[in-house]
């Protein structure tokens, strides 16, 4: 397991954000990078690699990885639908969207479809309350969701995968 040279440069750039001797701070951004690079989740092997890279004890990396909700500690599907379920989104119908996703994908929060395509995750407020209901998909938000929009997003993911193969 090793980052590409390009990613290693990115790691160096990140370390430069902190004063001498404070490179431990890089652990959060580098874990983001590692999760992205190594299959969308953090295996023990990935975390150990990050520890070696940043000259930290493995426990220092585990501690952080288990605290923050954006790190996935088990494998996830190719596309993760992170649907907000907190109050303001609920007021605008997130319950219905989540239920629709249960039926449409046949999975519950925390589960992945059998074909490994989709993981459903319910999350707490993502700072998009005025554009509810919403979900995060990769780097971006999908907002003002309706059942039709959900269908379109699922289709978009399927086509995205088809185009890559």
């Amino acid at each position: 397991m090793r980052f590409s040279d390009e990613k290693l440069k990115e790691v160096d750039r990140i370390r430069g954000f902190y004063p001498e001797g404070r490179q431990k701070s890089a652990v959060i951004p580098v874990l983001h990078l590692a999760q992205q690079e190594f299959g969308g989740w953090l295996s023990a092997e990935t975390m150990d690699y990050v520890a070696t890279l940043l000259q930290l004890e493995p426990i220092e990396v585990y501690e952080v990885a288990t605290f923050y909700s954006m790190y996935n500690l088990k494998p996830v599907g190719k596309y993760m639908f992170e649907v907000c379920q907190t109050g303001p989104c609920m007021l605008n119908g997130s319950d219905d969207i989540i239920k629709y996703l249960y039926d449409k994908l046949g999975i519950r929060p925390g589960e992945t479809t059998n074909d490994g395509m989709f993981t459903l995750k319910t999350v707490e407020c993502l700072g998009a309350c005025g554009y509810a209901p919403m979900m995060q998909l990769g780097k971006n938000y999908r907002e003002h969701l309706t059942k039709d929009k959900v269908d379109a997003v699922i289709e978009e993911c399927r086509q995205h995968t088809a185009a890559k193969n």
Partner: protein, 456 residues
């Protein structure tokens, strides 16, 4: 139209780009500060402006800056809090997305005042695409000589770095944020020592909200006294309000703090009234942590005066009959909404976000969530309501950080003002399951607002 100082240029095409921002008068505050003012003079202007922290607590910013310890040879840090995770709040995102240079400009001017040559933006991890926008703005600012060494020949050096969080509301609490920025779990620290003395890497640190730092730009451009003329009493200047829930026009609005809550909700300039022809039932005016108010107490204080969109007026009546400005996350519930269900989602939120260091918060938030879930689903008991009340009282004031209070207050206020709705759930278990909230009696107890603004 109210005065706008932050978002007045937000709609100019490409204002996100340096050239346009500069053409529109951007970076003037940096020129003015670095060329004509001492760092202390900048702080003095911020003190005069009466600016209060926009992150939630409303602490006077100039005073906070004044507390910053300045031991010789020790670096000082400015950290911008862009964690924005309080349900109902999405204003900082708007500001950073559309006006990234306004934040960068405010940071340079503020860092000059504080003597900080390294400043950080700690942004919630989910705002991934905004990191790109900010990095581009920082790159442009640097290329044009606003960052780096010896800025404008003043001898002042400054660099700005962005740190992305990874999903944890608690990292919005300033000491948890600093722990996280140091590469650790976001466990709040016991205060004192305050960050102003011992903050990031044990160095003196100022943590301010995105909107607070952006407001430094008009304060320096126009002068603190001019800024202080806007608003009422100690609520000076303008405030961003992110309005959401069951209103016609959700979004981020800049208000000058002179308008009433009624105008904010019903006028077309702002929320445009309640959506779908429904009526106002309740509102959480300052982000999920502050007390919910029923329509009558929201629009008028207990004394019968019009409630204004100011720190003081929103808090009028204390927690018995008032609420708080908080972060400006304005959540509106119409008469079809269930207060119990809404409160349950908030309790679940706080249980999820508790860092677990203090037992009242760790255990209490879990208990409250479970009891509320039962009541909401017709499996509650009357004694459960009393137990909820008891738990929230035992959390409040007994924890390391204010997240405990933030979890207790919404539950307390919901029971205080909507106790019969909780009791109705206990007494009508079948109806709760059919989601028939049936308590429209709470809606619009006041005579509806005048004029054409009345939603029918």
């Amino acid at each position: 139209m109210g005065r706008k100082l932050l978002l007045d240029k937000a709609h100019i095409e490409n204002i996100r780009l340096y050239d346009v921002y500069r053409r529109e008068g951007g970076y003037r505050s940096v020129e003015k500060a670095l060329k004509t003012m001492s760092p202390d003079a900048v702080t003095e202007e911020v003190k005069k402006s009466g600016l209060r922290g926009r992150g939630g607590a409303g602490f006077p910013t100039g005073m906070k800056w004044g507390f910053l310890a300045k031991p010789q040879g020790v670096p000082r840090y400015l950290v911008v809090n862009a964690d924005e995770s309080e349900p109902g709040t999405f204003k900082d995102r708007y500001l950073m997305e559309f006006l990234p240079h306004l934040l960068i400009e405010g940071m340079i001017t503020s860092a000059y005042a504080l003597g900080s040559s390294r400043a950080y933006i700690y942004i919630r991890g989910e705002y991934d695409w905004i990191v790109d926008i900010l990095e581009q703005a920082i790159g442009e600012a640097k290329k044009n000589g606003w960052l780096g060494k010896n800025i404008l020949g003043s001898g002042f050096d400054c660099e700005i770095y962005i740190q992305r969080g990874a999903g944890a509301y608690i990292c919005g609490e300033e000491t948890a944020l600093l722990e996280s920025l140091e590469g650790k779990r976001g466990n709040p620290r016991i205060k004192p020592p305050f960050p102003a003395v011992k903050g990031l890497w044990d160095c003196p640190t100022v943590v301010n909200n995105v909107e607070t730092i952006a407001a430094v730009v008009p304060i320096i451009n126009e002068g603190g006294e001019e800024y202080a003329k806007i608003g009422i009493g100690k609520s000076t200047g303008t405030k961003l309000i992110s309005a959401c829930g069951n209103i016609k026009k959700q979004g981020v609005y800049e208000i000058d703090m002179t308008i009433s809550v009624e105008e904010f909700i019903y006028s077309d300039e702002y929320c445009g009234g309640i959506a779908n022809g429904r009526k106002l039932k309740a509102c959480i005016p300052g982000g999920s942590s502050v007390p919910i108010l029923p329509a009558n107490l929201l629009l008028k204080t207990a004394k019968g005066e019009a409630r204004m969109m100011t720190y003081e007026s929103l808090a009028d009546g204390g927690f018995a009959t008032g609420s708080m400005m908080g972060s400006g996350g304005f959540i509106v519930l119409d008469d079809s909404q269930c207060v119990v269900r809404h409160t349950y989602t908030l309790a679940r939120f706080y249980r999820h976000e508790s860092c677990g260091q203090c037992s009242p918060c760790r255990e209490g938030t879990g208990w409250m969530e479970k009891i509320l879930l039962n009541i909401e689903n017709g499996k509650g008991k009357k004694s459960g309501i009393d137990l909820l009340w008891d738990i929230q009282r035992k959390i409040e004031g007994n924890t390391i950080c204010p997240l405990g209070d933030a979890a207790a207050w919404p539950v307390a206020a919901a029971i205080r003002h909507f106790r019969d709705e909780f009791e109705w759930h206990v007494e009508n278990p079948e109806d709760c399951l059919r989601r028939n909230y049936g308590l429209a009696g709470y809606a619009d107890p006041l005579t509806p607002p005048k004029g054409e603004l009345v939603p029918v």
